[in-house]
């Protein structure tokens, strides 16, 4: 399947791009993260500390076990600091 993968804040900076299209057979967020982290050093650095990474699947907050089957947009970002 093809996903739009989005990055925000320092994840975006480490990866060097705000988004990328990914062809993957991953079925959960966690499986996708494992694939992405194996791509290159930049991705590895972005996903080095998963305790500092949050995720949304199609704009809904998700966790590593969340299914991405049928999803279009997976976003990764640090803990939010709004307000």
């Amino acid at each position: 399947m093809t996903f739009d993968v989005l990055y925000f804040a320092w994840l975006r900076e480490r990866i060097g791009e705000p988004s990328e299209r990914i062809e993957s057979s991953a079925r959960t967020v966690g499986q996708l993260v494992a694939e992405l982290a194996a791509k290159d050093d930049w991705h590895a650095a972005a996903f080095a500390d998963m305790s500092a990474v949050r995720c949304a699947v199609d704009q809904e907050l998700a966790d590593m076990d969340t299914s991405i089957e049928g999803a279009r947009e997976i976003a990764f970002f640090p803990p939010m600091t709004g307000g």
Binding site: F8, A9, Q59, A75, F77, P79, M80, G82, G83
Partner: protein, 144 residues
Amino acid sequence: MSALVQPGPFQPEQVLRDFGVGAGAIVTFTGVVRDDGGNLAALEIEHYPAMTQSSLTAYGHEAAKRFQLSDWRIVHRHGRLEVGEQIMMVATAARHRHAAFQAADYLMDWLKSRAPFWKREISRDGSTRWVDARDSDEHALSRW
């Protein structure tokens, strides 16, 4: 009952125009860029456009249901904000004061830790630093 995400400044009196008609109690919270150490020039706020509006709206509706609000409004800015500028504002309207206070407090806890905004501090010397999420903000959510 509305959430607004915008780069430009807002006027509280505009946000509160026709707000909470019929309510007895109105509470507002306004967050302002604060320079604690004397070195901050501005904040840069990044957000996730496709998600921001919908998540603010969802938290607003959740607060309305939970605290029986007759009205609520949220405005949150993004982009570069200088020291002293308003970052965001929440307003809640209810029959009685405790519901209005609690709903505003609840909404702020959710916005701080669950709305897709990320703050970066820009120092006067031009260096930048992403603001870390605070454990106390995460902890605050567990009150509800």
